[in-house]
Amino acid sequence: MATYTYTPVPDQGAKAGVLAYLVISCVVLLLMMLFGLLMRMEQAQMISIGALWFYKIMTLHGAGMVGIVALAGAAIMWHFLRQYVDLSTGIFMANLILFLTGVVMILASVLLGDFHAAWTFLFPLPTTSMGMWSPGAAALFMGGLLVIGVGFVLLHLDIARAIISRYGGLGRGLGWPQLFGPDDGNAPPPAVVASTMVTIVNLIGLVVGASILVMMLINVYVPTFEIDALLAKGMIYFFGHVFINAVIYMAVIAVYEILPRYTQRPWKSNKVFLASWTASTIMVMFIFPHHLLMDYAYPKWFLIMGHIIGYLNTFPILIVTGYGAMMIVYRSGIRWDMCSRLLFVSLFGWAVGAMPAFIDGTITVNYVMHNTLWVPGHFHTYLLLGMVAMVFGFMYYLGKPNENAPDSALDVAAFWGFVIGTMGFTMSFLYSGKISAARRYAEHLPEWVPYDKIASYFAMLLIASVLVFIFRFLTRLGLASRDYQRASLARSMAT
């Protein structure tokens, strides 16, 4: 019979590699946020950068954000997973080097080659630029994505190797013996379960992504090798959606690992937890069709499958994690600090951010909402107030001077600025979607402009708050690598 008592575990400092990942994540995240602000200000007619720069920045913002949240998520996953399995630091650093190489290629493609076909590089746009960029620029962009993908394949192969060596198979990493047999309480910890799921889905996604990228690279230079546009879109969205979905599953490991340290209550892998992760391992690969519901040429069964699985996949992990977090926090006497606040609010952001996608995944709604700002409203909520909040929570955890260190008023103000800024910014997106403001338009109709202005002001508040988070983390880098007790003990335990 499984027992669920809390066993204290030491707080380990971050390895130099994890800190390198996080510092790069901070810099790029801030830069990409500034790019995002520029786009909103352009739409709000507060500045005038022109359509070319708008789309170049949009391409960089999209590719950069997807890449950098994946990098930050990988840092969290690697930091905690290495406490259970033997991971290779060499592979971890090789991924970083390949990532930076890919970033340089993408930057050169956009800034020097004028490539601006968005991060989704949907066929046939990269190859039909009408003279606005060269085939070389398109190839450099897609080559950059390919190099970044190769790095992540290596990272996930190393994680698979380590989990298989420790547990005997990825199925065991998902806790299948305990899920389908008696729960003996020896299921892998949540960090291992989540890492196993992410590894499985990302390996599949990246192989599909590499295939379509190579196909499109061939097509750039030999256009007579034609690609079925629907096949290309399906493959791109399969890869892209799985990859961006996986980042929150990497980052949520911070919640599973850190919140129990504050509450002294265990976050155990019970049957419900294991079932939700196994279900999502399968379902996360079939929900991407909600990006294709407007493509009537797809088989009807395919779109209906996307609709149904999109509904189903919204809940398992989210409910299990959200409910689990509330259960371990409820009457625990938790002492709220920047880390625990950010981790707790991240679950709110995740839940709230998933809802617009749930609504957009309804075929009849999708027809009128999908190409509006409703969708950026969804993924900005989900990523900013969900995933990115987890990353900053993790950074505050690493840099906390000691378990009783109080937060400064500036940090607390930045926390509320972050929450209010993100909510205002994303609600402006969602409301713009409601009034049919089209997405990916450099110029907006006069009726849409007021909401763009509101969004810009909230984005400024958000960026100012993030500046405080980043500044605080960078000033505490020396502490982040040391091993010591960080989490403030819950009042009920401390007294």
């Binding site: 698979a160 198979g169 390996l203």
Partner: protein, 207 residues
């Protein structure tokens, strides 16, 4: 016991040799090479498999010594990648059908430059190295299949366009099935491949 194993290995080697010769007979060659799909997806893989089995029949110590002489695992993997890539070229297929020397080169290179060195190298590769080879193979097989399906011209003089398309579809299907088989071996652990503990010393073998 040793005598029994040697006897077993000897019989296996003999059976393998007979099978190899059978594949080289005009009847087998005519039938297997009459269609692009059978040529690329049956005959060539069988030749690679012969090399794999031949290498596994070689005693472990001799395999280790051979691997050292050949420069280690990665030179063997790279040799296998280059040799197998060459036989993916349509021109190489045509040459094998029209030039007896090219046909002989195919019968020698696929077992001895692809299957044999891969097994030697596989013993020394961790799951990362093996996974990299596998994932590269799956994605490239799928891309090659797509190239054969959408090629605007007949790429082999010896085969018709519809045969070329069929071969392409079989490659795409094979890559998907092989990928899920490989993933399955990871899910249930164990896997397949030469028996050799991985570097973590767990004593398990992986695909």
């Amino acid at each position: 016991m040793i005598g029994t194993l040697s006897h077993y290995s000897g019989r296996s080697a003999l059976a393998l040799g007979v099978f190899y010769l059978l594949l080289a007979t005009p009847i087998a060659r005519d039938w297997l090479e009459a269609s692009m799909s059978r040529h690329m997806l049956v005959q060539m893989p069988l030749l690679v498999v012969i090399g794999i089995i031949a290498a596994r029949l070689v005693p472990g110590r001799m395999q280790d010594s051979l691997l050292i002489r050949l420069g280690g695992a990665w030179p063997c993997v790279i040799a296998a990648l280059f040799a197998s890539s060459y036989w993916m070229l349509p021109r190489a297929l045509d040459a094998a059908l029209t030039d007896p020397w090219a046909e002989a080169a195919k019968f020698l290179s696929l077992p001895f430059l692809v299957g044999f060195p891969l097994v030697l190298a596989w013993r020394r590769l961790t799951l990362i190295g093996r996974g990299f080879v596998w994932t590269n193979f799956f994605s490239m097989l799928a891309v090659l299949g797509w190239l054969y399906i959408v090629a605007p011209v007949r790429v082999c003089n010896s085969y018709l366009v519809n045969d070329q398309e069929n071969a392409g579809w079989y490659m795409v299907i094979a890559s998907v099935l092989l990928f899920f088989w490989w993933l399955g071996t990871l899910l249930v652990g164990g896997g397949v491949g030469p028996d050799k503990p991985d570097q973590s010393g767990s004593g398990r073998t992986f695909a």
